[in-house]
Every structure is written in C-alpha cells, then in structure tokens.
Amino acid sequence: MTRSLDLSADRPTILEIWTPTCVACRAMQPDLDVVAKTFSDRVDLKMINAAEESAKIRELGVRATPTLIGVREGTEVFRIVGRRSRTDLHDLVEAVGRGGPVRRVSRQDSVLRLSAGFALLALGVAGGPAWPLAVLGVAVFVSGIGPLLRIRRE
C-alpha cells in the first residue's frame, strides 16, 4: 500500500514511531541508531514520540510501536511493525536510500518458515508417514527459502 505523506523532506526518510514505555522500541533503538549513522549521508531518520504527537500518529494510521515507515519522494514505500534485527534494519534503510525494491519478508519470517517447513517435512516422512504433512512442509520450506535467496542476491 502506498500512502501520500505530507513530508517536505528532500531525502529518503525513515520515520520511527516510538513511545517511552515501549520495550521493543528501546531494544531496537541501538541497532537503528547504528544503521541510521551508517546511511546518514543518504537517509534521514525522524523519530516521532507517539505519546506526544498523537494527532500525527492518527494521521499516519499507526496502531502499534515500534513502527518504521520508509518515505521516498513523499510516498510511503514500506511500513513495518515490531522489532527488527540490525540486519533487517540495514537492508530496509539501504533499500530506501538507493531507491531499490524493499524486501517484504524479514529474515525472522524466513527462518520461521524454514524451521516450520523442515519440521513438517521431517514429521511427515519419519513419523507415520503422513505425506500431506511432508508436502505441506516442502511448500512452507520453499516459501521461506525464496525470500532468503533473494536477500543473498541483492
């Protein structure tokens, strides 16, 4: 979904919506600071305290923290909710900075899919056997490995 935002920023910008009481925000902040510093020549980081700017939050349609919104040329190019690893943050900020496609599936999602697929496949083959489980396992595994391969190619 793309959303037009009233942002006059010339450069690509990451909006970080956070609250002081948000544990995940505090946990992610050091990683985000490092990534923002790495790309400070190309991407701006704008932090919005949701507790103080509730009108702005409603305007943006933000419902949870931490939320990161990538903005390029006044248009929202991605929106993620929840804590992300430093690697994921690096990939997101880098993609916004260079104007490339933004990966939608995080490494966490890929790992979860790979693990679930492997477990289903193993149980389907070894325990039963239950072939529908094995087939489902292959499908889930493939859905996880695809994004991971794309990540490595980029």
Binding site: M1, T19, P20, T21, C22, V23, A24, C25, A50, A51, S54, I57, R58, V62, R63, A64, T65, P66, T67, R79, I80, V81, G82, R83, R104, Q108, D109, L112, R113, S115, A116, A119, L120, L123, G124, G127, G128, P129, A130, P132, L133, L136, V140
Partner: protein, 74 residues
C-alpha cells in the same frame, strides 16, 4: 509486516502448536472424529503463526506485539 498483530513468541508458539496438532491428526496418533478435528484445526495456528496476523485478535482489537497505550489513553 504492517498488519501483524502477533509478537515473535506468539508466532513461534502458534507454529509449534499447529505442527503438533497436524502431526497428531495426520500421523494417526489420534484417529476417528478427533483425528479429523486435529487434521483440520492444526492449519489454523500454523497459518496465523506464519502470517503473523490473527483474525480473532483483530476482531477484538487485541495484539501481543507492543501497543500504543499512550495514544489510546489520549
């Protein structure tokens, strides 16, 4: 993903639970009506865990990832 309403621990628990239920049903650990029940119901936590979004949570405006308590209180 922007629509996610489940925390990481929630997703992992759902996926693990879904796999166990599917295994119980499809591997024949439990047969008969309950076996069929497990065969089908296991897909629900597995799918919601993999997607990261629970329709019941959404219906009741509940979420296990962090909330905007301060904003809602305002």
């Amino acid at each position: 993903m922007g629509f996610a309403n489940e925390a990481a621990w929630d997703r992992i628990a759902r996926v693990a639970g879904g796999i166990v239920l599917l295994y119980i049903g499809w591997a024949g650990v439990v047969t008969g009506g309950w076996g069929t029940f497990f065969k089908l119901i296991g897909f629900v936590p597995l799918a919601t865990g993999l997607i990261g979004w629970c329709p019941l949570y959404a219906m009741f405006r509940f979420r296990t990832n962090d909330r905007l308590r301060d904003v809602r209180a305002a």
